[in-house]
Symmetry: C2
Subunit: 216 residues, 2 copies
């Protein structure tokens, strides 16, 4: 039962709407609410400065309620830290599987990934700040996912160099730089500030395109 509740998507075909796993959906929703609130508190007061009691208080729930969804504070930090890179990797993989020219794929990736980074800004920043508070094995796992993102982006850049669309001397370095440009937006973007998210996305797209495009 617990397995079904935690992993409904794997056990049911998508079209089967007559048997929605409402319990599973609610459970996932509650997990997400706890993560969101915890992330917000870690962002404002730091991981070490935030207790599970404070998270429970903000959610108006008991601490045992939190424990029924997350084993401990370290696990909450792990889930927060993984979230950004997991979403970005999934977006990259989906764009890659849809095909298209390397330039079209790169543009779609930058658009979707920058959007995800701005939408999950606090998650990304908390990960960047609190990486040292992750268990070493977890920190390594997440670094591995980030490396995977860069390596897959590098493969796309290689395809674009081969097709003549891109002019890049070191595609590995370019991949790290593009990831960096996108990630950096989380450090300076201000919701409600002078540059709306849509403009940040469009301008990042132009910067990246300019950075890799072969002269016409």
């Amino acid at each position: 039962m617990a397995r079904t509740a935690l992993m409904p998507a794997k056990r049911k075909p998508k079209a089967d709407t007559s048997a929605r796993d409402v319990k599973g959906e609610i459970s996932a929703y509650k997990r997400r609410l706890i993560l969101e609130e915890a992330c917000h508190l870690f962002y404002a007061h730091g991981y070490e400065g935030t207790t599970l009691d404070a998270i429970a208080e903000r959610l108006n729930v008991t601490k045992p309620f939190i424990y029924s969804y997350h084993r401990n504070k370290a696990e909450i930090l792990r889930e927060i830290s993984e979230r950004g890179i997991r979403l970005c990797l999934a977006a990259l993989d989906e764009v890659r599987s849809n095909g298209g020219t390397p330039l079209a794929q790169l543009k779609a990736i930058v658009d979707r990934v920058t959007t995800l980074i701005l939408e999950n800004q606090e998650y990304i920043v908390v990960y960047q700040r609190e990486e040292k508070n992750l268990e070493p094995a977890t920190a390594r796992d997440i670094r591995r996912l980030r490396k995977m993102f860069d390596t897959r982006l590098e493969a796309l850049l290689d395809e674009g160099v081969a097709s003549g669309e891109f002019d890049i001397e070191d595609t590995g370095f370019a991949a790290i730089s593009i990831s960096g440009l996108m990630s950096w937006t989380a450090n300076w973007f201000q919701p409600g500030g002078r540059r709306p998210a849509s403009e940040v996305i469009v301008q990042t797209l132009k910067m990246v395109t300019h950075m890799v495009a072969a002269p016409k």
Copy 2:
């Protein structure tokens, strides 16, 4: 006397080598040693996880010794956090005052600033991670210095657009992106790793040049 020791450069003409302020130099050296060790411990264990006792122990000195050079732990964090941006701003200003074409100036800035960022990697990372532990007024001051860096870089980019060397739609955004690309190296550079610092600098230079250069 204390003023002389702390600010020797302001009180003596540069050419006067016959009267070196050795006391002042030693004092500055000791301040620097404390900062370096504190930065190293903040980097490894976090600001909150590091006591002044631990810093004193690592330096094999007493806590009063540290207090005679820094008021408290918060002041040490402020000095660590300011260091990177102060050095980068000074490098930018020096390059600007030396003159040259906008492209030559931009290349000199990227070269020098990326070098400074890699040399002061732990200082930059500690600032990025621990910004929330700075006093609000200090955090604002440092953000103002960073903004100043970007604004001065933007002015250079504007000159390059006017001269036809650069092809940039939004020079403000390009300045933030270039700062971001350079700062990002502090997050992934590994001393002794696969890419030596010299290569990171050369490749960053190429990325930035490609990003802003007008098509030939």
